[in-house]
């Protein structure tokens, strides 16, 4: 591998997508070329710095189906515990719920130090419309649901 090849393989190397054979050749070039080594190391350092930026609080609004109530669940807030709407409207109400938890001081949400993949799992069962759930959330949490209220307003 030469310096031109290094540039070709650099993105895959930084992104962890080199094959083992390519990685060996890439590392061998780094060992013999200080210019490329410095370039690679500074870019890798930038990526590691980005990983240090805390991600959003990771919360679960509902227990998994195989969990008994209260088991393995973050103490997010009394108003959400066991509520059906929290199970089914979890995705869109998350931001509202996290804010409620933080402002109410219920269950401090720890920022993460490792970069998590952005969670986007949510219940597949949406037998109750999300809109109805937002209305319920608003009714049951007056003054707490700026996101929910906004969306309800938009949809009316």
């Amino acid at each position: 591998m030469n310096c031109e090849d290094f540039e070709v393989f650099l993105a895959d190397a930084l992104g962890g997508e080199l094959s083992s054979t390519e990685r060996s050749a890439f590392d061998a070039h780094l060992a013999e070329c200080s210019h490329c080594r410095l370039e690679y190391e500074s870019l890798a350092r930038a990526i590691r710095a980005m990983w240090k930026v805390p991600g959003p609080p990771q919360v679960t609004l509902y227990p998994r189906d195989n969990e008994s109530p209260g088991e393995g669940r973050p103490p997010l807030g009394r108003c959400f515990r066991g509520r059906r709407f929290a199970r089914q409207a979890a995705g869109i109400v998350l931001a509202f719920a996290a804010g409620y938890a933080m402002h109410a001081g219920v269950g401090r949400l720890s920022p993460q130090t490792k970069p998590p993949a952005v969670a986007d799992s949510y219940p597949a069962d949406k037998s109750v419309s999300l809109r109805t759930e937002l209305v319920n959330a608003r009714r049951e949490n007056p003054g707490r649901s700026d996101l929910a209220q906004f969306m309800i307003t938009v949809l009316q």
Binding site: G15, A49, G55, P56, I92, P111, A117, D120, R131
Partner: protein, 172 residues
Amino acid sequence: MATTASPGLDAFEPHTLAVYGWAYRLLGQHEDAQDVVQDVFLRWAAQCRKGPPDHPRGWLRRVTLNRAVDYARQRRVTPPVPESAAQPPATEEAPGDSVDGAALRADIAAAMDRLTDLQRAVLVAKVYDEMTFSRIASELGLALSTVKTHYLRSTRAVRDQLEPRWAEEESP
């Protein structure tokens, strides 16, 4: 009052956590990230009235990061008054960044401000969502080689932004 959900909301809902997460990564404040979610939802609803985007997830990623960068830019122009100036100190650690964490996040947001929306989208998808280049290419409707080029350029922009900080940290 009708209770049927809007098709736009139905399509938006699966991405809400991701939109919030992308915004939070750049802003580090729940309220600001929530504002971005609202703004993006409004734009999404307007877009859906015209017709859904070809690559919904990629569209949301680009719009969200654009708005988050706008917020970060406004914050640099008019930094918020520190809460400590107006309120007694909290008795327990509040959620949010440390001083160093906030500075690092601000540097990264400043670097992203100099990128195109596609470069930002690629960088966040790769670094924070740990997606493969081929999956990013599919999500954004780009060629694989273009994705890799965006990734390198955006990583170099962040590196260039952070180098003064590194030099400062390493100086005796």
